[in-house]
């Protein structure tokens, strides 16, 4: 008995029909003796040879037959696996991933590759640092997940900042990392309790250079999935990511979009209440208007809101902190980094006191980090960018849940 050689369908599609072919995939629907198969190349109708048992939807099928230019005909079929429940299962994985999600995940992967490509090309070293750390950071408004059973105590990182700065002290002048960061209590359209962060540091550079890195990296990633275009659909209206992006100070933004003098606001009443008002105005009035049509960097944040940033030497009321906004969505947060160990310890102790005063968990001071500062960091600037948000805006997705494989709510 002779065996006909069968071409994999992706090759058979390129041959002059008819061609003996083999295809493997999942049966999506059936129509009399024909079944629609979804495989790596897309969808294909398979006509089952007379006398054979026709497969039902959901079956993972290996079919061999003749590709006639549009369908696989006269096919013999082998059932590789059969679902144990009716297909497609309501709320099941097939329906979850097939509704465009796999396509978005492919584009996400392409964007992440493009981000790596950009930083590799600019001579940054890709690093990986621990996810479990002795201190997750002391920001007043960031809560961390403690790790049960860890001895000594460990938390999941809210950002890899402390550990990456240790690598800077160790002599690597340009480093980047793409990792997961974990923040407790943050879930919503733009928040996932675990999310993907791109963080990088550049020695002998200030905020301006790192803002330029941001513009170029984001534009390059968008181009990778938009056929070379830098115009992304965003949320309410398209935004052009082409560098350079606009710059506006916090004071200008508050004046322009909320008609509020931010210095007067922060000087009014007890600091805690004034800061709450600041964030309320920022979140509800200012942010939604930032970065429409073109991204904008918001610079010169109040000194009290940037514990790890250097103060502006020309105006010590503000810190060298910046954030980029795209169509009302905060994309990243960067600093001209504070490298003075004495000042840093004072600020961390102040942050601990502030957390204690609010009855929030008080995390330890990371002595490994402070040790690195004492040993000496090169002057540097860094940035942390939300990769999920960049993907979401680039693909015009409504929610961060649309651009991750399995959001926390689906676990």
């Amino acid at each position: 008995m002779s065996v006909t050689p069968r071409y994999p369908i992706e090759i058979a599609r390129r041959l002059r029909p008819p061609a003996p072919a083999k295809v493997a995939g999942r049966v999506v629907t059936t129509d009399a003796a024909r079944v629609l198969l979804r495989d790596v190349t897309g969808e294909l109708w398979v006509e089952v040879a007379a006398g054979a048992t026709p497969p039902t939807p959901g079956v993972w099928l290996v079919a061999e037959g003749t590709f006639d230019g549009s369908a696989l005909i006269d096919a013999t079929c082998r059932f590789a696996n059969v679902p144990r429940v009716p297909f497609p299962r309501p709320g099941g994985e097939w329906l979850w991933f097939q509704g465009g999600r796999l396509e978005r995940l492919k584009k996400r992967a392409t964007m992440v590759r493009a981000l790596r490509e950009h930083f590799d090309r600019c001579a940054f070293l890709e690093v990986e640092t621990p996810a479990m750390v002795p201190s997750p950071g002391l920001d007043l408004h960031l809560d961390a997940f403690p790790i049960a059973g860890a001895e000594p105590a460990r938390w999941l990182i809210t950002s890899p900042e402390y550990q990456m700065k240790r690598i800077l002290a160790g002599g690597a002048p340009r480093i980047y990392q793409i990792c997961r960061a974990f923040r407790r209590g943050e879930v919503g359209e733009r928040h996932e309790p675990e999310f993907t962060m791109l963080e990088w540091y550049r020695a002998f550079a200030g905020p301006d250079e790192v803002m330029r890195d941001t513009e170029h990296a984001a534009a390059h990633a968008a181009q990778a999935v938009l056929g070379g275009s830098t115009v992304i659909p965003a949320r309410t209206a398209p935004v052009d990511l082409a560098p350079p992006w606009d710059r506006i100070t916090v004071a200008e933004a508050f004046a322009r979009y909320a008609n509020i003098d931010v210095e007067a606001l922060l000087a009014s009443g007890p600091p805690e209440e004034a800061e709450e008002t600041f964030f309320r105005v920022l979140a509800l009035q200012v942010e939604p208007q930032l970065g429409r049509f073109r991204p904008v960097f918001v610079t010169d944040w109040p000194a009290s809101m940037a514990s790890l940033a250097q103060l502006d030497p020309r105006n010590p009321k503000v810190a060298q902190r910046f954030e980029a906004y795209v169509d009302g969505v905060e994309l990243c947060n960067g600093f001209g980094e504070l490298i003075d160990p004495v000042e840093q310890r004072t600020r961390l102790e102040r942050d601990q006191a502030a957390r204690a005063a609010k009855s929030l968990p008080v995390y330890p001071i990371d002595e490994g980090f402070l040790g690195a500062l004492e040993e000496g960091l090169p002057p540097c600037a860094g940035n942390a960018l939300g990769v999920d948000r960049l993907v979401m805006l680039t693909l015009g997705a409504a929610s961060i849940e649309d651009v991750v494989a399995i959001p926390s709510r689906r676990l």
Binding site: H141, G185, E186, G188, E189, A283, E287, E330
Partner: protein, 187 residues
């Protein structure tokens, strides 16, 4: 006591003594700043929708609302009398809380009654009800396109727009969420 982490669509809270149901909520948090939960809330008694922003972690009062299945028995003046299908207790509900839902009450229909602190504040009728046409212009047999419509009065007094082919005496399936005609029911 609940807090802002409990807020999601359908969550019922007490604000200034009135029960509100969450229509929409959004978690907002500016970079490293205080988080807020922005909400649109529907007053479950008046139906008014308001916007309210809570500080993340803020304590909120849960509204003690309870939904019970009851059977509609008969009208009495401006009130409607229902019977709890589990306890067989009878309850009178004022027509003002029913609004348009009164049009969907057929004898012995089971509805969900929303109780706030033991008092009825509204009902949810079945999603679809079948009602008879008691008044409409004569139909045009030939027109089945359904592109043009006419008014029809149904047995409970509800007025709906129906396709021209609908005849008096026919029974129609009505979507109680929209108050719109769905299809004719045979038999």
């Amino acid at each position: 006591m609940a807090d802002t982490t409990d807020i999601k669509k359908g969550f019922k809270m007490l604000l200034d003594g009135a029960p509100y149901s969450v229509v929409e909520s959004q978690f907002v948090k500016p970079g490293k700043g205080q988080a807020f939960v922005r909400t649109r809330l529907k007053n479950m008694i008046s139906g008014n929708v308001i916007e309210r922003t809570f500080k993340s972690g803020e304590k909120i009062d849960k509204a003690e609302c309870e939904e019970r299945e009851m059977q509609y028995l008969y009208p009495e003046g401006d009130d409607y009398v229902f019977m709890d299908t589990q306890t067989y207790d009878q309850m009178r509900i004022s027509g003002e809380f029913l609004g348009d839902n009164a049009y969907y009450l057929l004898d012995n229909t089971n509805v969900d009654v929303m109780l706030f602190e033991g008092r009825p504040i509204g009902i949810t009728p079945p999603t679809f009800v079948n009602l008879e046409v008691i008044e409409t212009e004569p139909g045009f047999k030939g027109d089945t396109s359904g592109n043009t419509t006419k008014s029809a009065k149904l047995s409970t007094g509800l007025m709906v727009q129906v396709p021209l082919f609908v005849e008096q005496g026919e029974t129609l399936k009505i979507d109680t969420r929209t108050g719109e005609y769905v299809e004719r029911v045979k038999g």
